[in-house]
């Protein structure tokens, strides 16, 4: 009999009993629905009557129908607000603070991380109020004499999407800052001292030491924020319902909209499949880059 090299050495078959509940629930509520989603995406169905085979035409629609394609374009814009800006901002701030050993970091960490734990619906309601025509944002603009900039932000065709995006920036920046500050505190001081003896300026210090050392943290930050951007739903549902027009629709919102409001279940599931593939590719790519840096 083969002796297992680790573990309590119990009969190996008992392992199947231990994983049975997890596999059962996982199979029934993840694998089966996933397969059914893929199957639905090949049919045309309004959710009630009979369905007709559609081949890949739903997928063609996802990529050609302007409103559906637009949702993915909006998701790209949101990635800038949710991921690119917070990561850049977090890096710059963390780098600027790298030399200090600050007291009271525990307090700041708790406060900066707070936006991550608040239910998105609550976040959306708070920001809706901020963006109101007579809300705090416009009050401030009028107070400093920029009356011409004041507007109903979420009803504005140009500004609605960036306004939603800024909320993502608000949610993500604290996370990035907390992550990077923790990462920087692990970089040995001697590295910086050695670099300075070699005559490196702050910019070279940042490129040669800070950036490579934070690769792992950057991968974590990007994974969390990019996926959050791609899966945005609650925020759009509560703040704008995709409007004005279709200026703030996102893939998840179009999945919901097509399945339950427009009665296009095939299109909705095809969209969901495409979104899932994008999430997979994004996760794998980000973590590849992150791992390569650690070697």
């Amino acid at each position: 009999m083969q002796v297992s090299s680790r573990g309590p050495g119990e009969p190996r078959r008992v392992a199947y009993l231990y994983i049975l509940p997890a596999l059962l629930v996982f199979g029934l509520f993840v694998l089966v629905p996933l397969a059914r989603t893929a199957q639905f995406s090949l049919y045309e169905w309004n959710g009630l009557g009979s369905s007709t085979w559609a081949g890949l035409s739903n997928y063609r629609d996802v990529f050609t129908e302007p409103q559906l394609r637009g949702a993915f374009v909006h998701a790209l814009v949101l990635i800038v607000f949710y991921a690119v800006i917070p990561v850049t901002l977090g890096l710059l701030l963390a780098a600027a603070m790298s030399r200090a050993v600050l007291r009271g970091m525990g307090f700041f960490r708790v406060v900066l991380f707070l936006p991550q734990v608040i239910p998105m619906v609550v976040v959306a309601i708070a920001w809706r109020q901020i963006y109101e025509p007579n809300g705090p944002l416009n009050d401030v603009l009028r107070f400093v004499g920029l009356d011409s900039l004041a507007r109903p932000w979420l009803g504005d065709y140009t500004w609605a999407l960036p306004s939603v995006g800024i909320v993502g920036t608000w949610v993500g920046t604290g996370l990035c800052l907390v992550l990077f500050l923790a990462g920087m505190s692990r970089i040995p001081r001697e590295l910086y001292e050695a670099a300075r003896l070699d005559g490196a300026g702050p910019f070279r210090e940042f490129r040669a030491i800070t950036l490579p050392s934070l690769r792992g943290e950057m991968a974590v930050a990007l994974t969390l924020t990019v996926i959050a951007a791609l899966k945005t739903f609650d925020l759009v549902y509560v703040m704008t319902s995709g409007g004005p027009g279709t200026e703030t629709t996102v893939p998840s919102y179009q999945v919901y909209n097509n399945a339950f409001l427009l009665g296009r279940v095939g299109i909705a599931t095809a969209l969901a499949v495409v979104l899932t593939l994008i999430v997979f590719v994004a996760t794998v790519l980000i973590n590849r880059v992150g791992e390569r840096g650690e070697r």
């Binding site: 629930v25 993840v30 989603t37 239910p119």
Partner: protein
């Protein structure tokens, strides 16, 4: 050593971002305590919370959320500990493949499950039941939890396990009497994360709860705000009630929240 000026500048930057982080929260709190009616006296209007609880039905939404959270956290914690134990300490045929399938499941967005699941459960007459709201979340949380607990069990000391075995403890007793108590920090972090995800979940209850009786707190809040203009005291009071449980838990267990989200960045 850094100069006094630089230290001050660092604090100024941190303080600025801290203010930005709490401003929307304080705005909601202030609105929740404000006076909607003309002519009412006093400065803090705590009665808004009572009104939101009764008239806004937030009492009932919160009850549903608590039931859902208990079921999801309880079931997925149990399933995850069991599965993580097997994947982390035992060798069996197919373990690698099965584990990767579960790992893949962590990445699947709920959007790719709920549409098909809704129509299939409707066939079975199961939409608008707790099963429909709870089980998809149990499945997703178990995928994450299995991954999380496997990492803990792999790292657990083999000497301790061997010693338990020499004392005559079987695999079941080793798990519950030794490894789980020893791994309380890891289990707590997992529970905290699953609770937060469940409490904040919106899409699954939105699709599965077709009438008001099963609305969870975030869902109830979203429908409530659809009926009223924003900026009202009642809406803000409702929002406060919905956020309160998870924020209070966060204040007490913030290390677990931060550690979990940073280390378990797969979800």
């Amino acid at each position: 050593m850094i100069s006094r000026g630089e230290r001050l500048a660092n604090y100024a930057v941190l303080a600025l971002f801290a203010v930005i982080a709490v401003f929307p929260v304080l705005l909601i709190l202030q609105t929740a305590l404000s006076n909607d009616q003309i002519g009412g006296g006093g400065s803090f209007h705590f009665e808004n919370f009572a009104d939101a609880w009764d008239q806004g039905h937030f009492g009932s939404y919160l009850r549903t959320s608590i039931v859902v959270a208990i079921l999801v956290v309880g079931l997925s914690t149990l399933f995850s500990v069991l599965a993580g134990y097997a994947f982390g300490t035992m060798r069996f045929r197919g373990s690698e493949v099965l584990f990767y399938v579960i790992l893949l499941g962590i990445m699947v967005p709920a959007e790719a499950l709920v549409i098909a699941l809704y129509f299939d459960l409707r066939e079975l007459g199961l939409t608008n039941t707790l099963v429909a709201i709870v089980m998809p979340q149990v499945a997703q949380s178990t995928a994450f939890g299995t991954f999380w607990m496997r990492a803990y069990f792999r790292g657990s000391s083999r000497e301790v396990v061997e010693a338990a075995r020499l004392d005559g403890a079987g695999h079941w007793a080793t798990l519950w009497r030794i490894l789980v108590p020893m791994g309380r920090p890891a289990v707590t972090t997992m529970i905290v994360l699953i609770f937060m995800w469940t409490w904040n979940e919106f899409l699954i209850p939105l699709i599965m709860a077709t009438d008001e009786s099963l609305r969870t707190a975030p869902l109830g809040l979203a429908f409530f705000q659809g009926q009223y203009t924003s900026g009202t005291a009642l809406l803000a009071a409702g929002a406060t009630l919905v956020a309160l449980p998870v924020v209070v838990l966060y204040l007490f267990l913030q290390r677990h929240f931060i550690r979990g989200m940073v280390e378990g960045a797969v979800k």
